[in-house]
Structure formats: structure tokens, C-alpha cells
């Protein structure tokens, strides 16, 4: 920033108005999908859904459906699936309400990706689910559930598709036959591992590496070894 900064009101106005940055193509596709979805509803003369209380499983299913719609409309194009982009999703704000506990399982939330459920930690460890979001990278849906405990929070993402992308680097710790890879991405600690062939990515704020690793590798019936 070697140029002289703007001083006058007119210069500030000129500077701000000169910005012509475009919205990302991905956002355009999402808006187009919303409009297409709206047109579909209108042409079918369906009543708009009443503002019922959505169960999170339903909301996630709807979001996943929307993601599929976006992908199909855009010919499968989407942001690149990189470790960086996936981790960034786990650190963004939720766009959907928090998933509730699965009424049929004491250790799972009522939210899953192709049968791989997000864990329920609130009663045991005090980590409550606070929200969720669904994005897509390279045509794959990435579902993220956010958890918080006090001022700590973390994002837990599961990438759809059993043919998981490969993640390298970091320190690998094997627990019960599953390798857990801990590494730093842009200054944030991240754990990656596979569950039923699905890539899972977890990153947090104010959470120690040990806690991240313990939560990632936790199984029903265990204490949290953080």
C-alpha cells in the first residue's frame, strides 16, 4: 500500500464505487438453483411448505437435495476439493439449525452422510451441536455439523462418496485400526480420517490437539481420553 490513501469524502466515494468484484460463479449457481426451484414449485402449483418445525434430518436431506440440484444444474462444476477448502468449510458459520440427538441412538445425532452419522457428545462430554451446513466441492456434498462447549467450538465435516480423496502429510496416529492424521492447515489444527470410506475432517477454535484427536477417535462406550 504505497499509494497515498484517500482523504476527501469524494475520494472515498470514488474508491468504493470503483470496486467491481464479481460474485463467485458458485454463488451464481446457487442463486440460479434457488430460482429454478422456485419456478418448479410455482409451475407445479404446490402450496409453499408451511413453516413447520423442521427436524434436522429433514433439513439436511433438503439441503443435500438442493446441493444435488445445484450440481446437476451446473454440470457438476463446483469449487475445488482441497484440504484447504474443506477445512475452511468447518470454520464457517452454520446455515441450518442444530441437529437433535437421534431418538434411536444415544451416541448419534439425527444427521448423517450416506449412513455415516455425526456423533452425539452433549451428555457425555458437554459438546452440544449448534448448527449445520451443506456445501459441495468438486461435485461432492460436504456436510458439516458444528459443536460448541463454552467458548470452544469445532466443525466436523463428512465428504460424501465412499471413494475418499487422499490426504497426506501430518502426524498419523492409529487407533483401533484407523489412522488419524493430525496436521496444521493455515495455522489451525485439523484431524482427518476415514469412516466407512468417507473422509472426515475436523477443525476447531480453542480446542487442543489432544481433544480434537480424542473426539475424532471416540467410540461408543469409551471415556474421552483427551
Amino acid at each position: 500500500m504505497s499509494e497515498r490513501p484517500p482523504h476527501t469524502e469524494a475520494e472515498i466515494v470514488e474508491l468504493v464505487r470503483s470496486i467491481d468484484v464479481q460474485a463467485p460463479p458458485e454463488l451464481h449457481r446457487r442463486i440460479d438453483a434457488l430460482i429454478a426451484e422456485h419456478d418448479g414449485r410455482s409451475s407445479a402449483r404446490k402450496r409453499p411448505p408451511a413453516p413447520l418445525r423442521w427436524g434436522l434430518a429433514g433439513a439436511l436431506a433438503l439441503a443435500a437435495l438442493a446441493a444435488v440440484l445445484v450440481v446437476s444444474l451446473s454440470g457438476g462444476g463446483s469449487s475445488a476439493l482441497t484440504l484447504h477448502s474443506t477445512v475452511a468449510l468447518t470454520l464457517r458459520a452454520p446455515t441450518m439449525s442444530a441437529p437433535a440427538q437421534n431418538p434411536h441412538s444415544a451416541t448419534e445425532l439425527a444427521a448423517d452422510v450416506e449412513g455415516v452419522a455425526f456423533p452425539y457428545w452433549e451428555d457425555r462430554f458437554g459438546w452440544r451441536s449448534t448448527g449445520a451446513r451443506v456445501d459441495h466441492l468438486d461435485g461432492r456434498a460436504v456436510t458439516t455439523v458444528f459443536y460448541a462447549r463454552g467458548r470452544q467450538w469445532l466443525g466436523y465435516a463428512i465428504v460424501a462418496g465412499a471413494s475418499a480423496p487422499h490426504v497426506g502429510g501430518g502426524t498419523v496416529t492409529e487407533r483401533e485400526g484407523t489412522p488419524y492424521r493430525l496436521q496444521r492447515v493455515d495455522g489451525t489444527s485439523v484431524v482427518t480420517w476415514l469412516r466407512d470410506g468417507h473422509l472426515c475432517v475436523m477443525a476447531g477454535h480453542g480446542v487442543s490437539d489432544a481433544t480434537l484427536m480424542a473426539l475424532a477417535s471416540w467410540h461408543e462406550g469409551e471415556a474421552l481420553n483427551a
Binding site: S2, V21, T130
Partner: protein, 188 residues
Amino acid sequence: MRTLDPQSLNKHVDRLFRAAWALCGSREDAEDLVQETFARVLSRPRVLRGDDELYYLMRVLRNTFLTSLRTASRRPVTAAAIEDVVAADPRPTNRPEHAYEVQEIYATIAQLPDNFRLALVAVDVLGLSYKEAAQALQVREATLTTRLFRARKQVSEQLASEPERPQAAEARREDKDASGVMFSEGAP
């Protein structure tokens, strides 16, 4: 009065995105805000009193933004961590004689008090007239003018007071390097 035509909305995405970015100070949050704004607008038929869709969209954007602020205040604090991690996308303005980056300008606007920020975004980013902006923000035109003046003054002072930060520039370069690392297919 006329009904809002959903097909005409996508031409406003870029301007809404810029407005949302200036409101949020974050490119990623701006994407969410724009998507939520359009989802709200499309949730039911809308009747416009005037011809200007942009004015109407600004009203919805404002309401959505204020709602998101209230929601965010009930969530754990995340803003600092998000900004630490997400790579900046420093695209220049269309005036190369200014070395400011979009991210820096919008981040400066995003630090303004809500009322000042909304006034500046409505007029200088979205390009609404004073009258339209005042109506969209539900304030008197004189109030809007005062807020706008103060907002511009604060932005000017803020930009003038910020020295070059070589460490930040270096960090951005490192972010861009890291973002280029792709996954490869196959079992780990």
C-alpha cells in the same frame, strides 16, 4: 404495483454480493448472506410498489443481515478464527492507481457501526439514491445523509491510519500457496 419476477433477480447477484461483503467484512459470510437473502425473497410472492428491485433487495438484505447479527451474538465467537483461516482473495479495484485491496476496503467498512455501515453500503456500494436508501433503511433522508457523511469520514481516517503490513501480505501469499494443494483420488 407489480409482482416481483424471480427470473429478473439473478442480474443483481454481483451487486448484492459486494454489498454483503461490505456489511460482513468477509467474502465467505457474504456468500451466505446473499444466498439467505434470495431464499427469503423467493419464499413467497412479492409485490413491489416501485420499479426498483434493487431497492427491495436492499431492504431484505438489511433485515437478513440484522437477523444474522442477532443470531451470531448467541453463537460462540467465531469471526477471528474464520478470518485467520480463510484465504484472502485480494482482487484489486478497477482503478490500479489505488493500491488498496477489496478485502481491506470492505473490512474497513465492516468495522463501522451498523447504522453507518448500512448507509454507506446502500448508497456507495449498491448505488441507491439517497431517497431510496432512506426508504430501504427506514430512516429520514437527513438522517441518512448525516450517517453517510460520518461513515465516509471514518473510512477515510481508518484507511489513512493503516500502515503497510508486510507480515500480512506474506501470510496471504502463504495462504494462496496452501490452497493450491489438491487431494488426489485413491485410498490413503
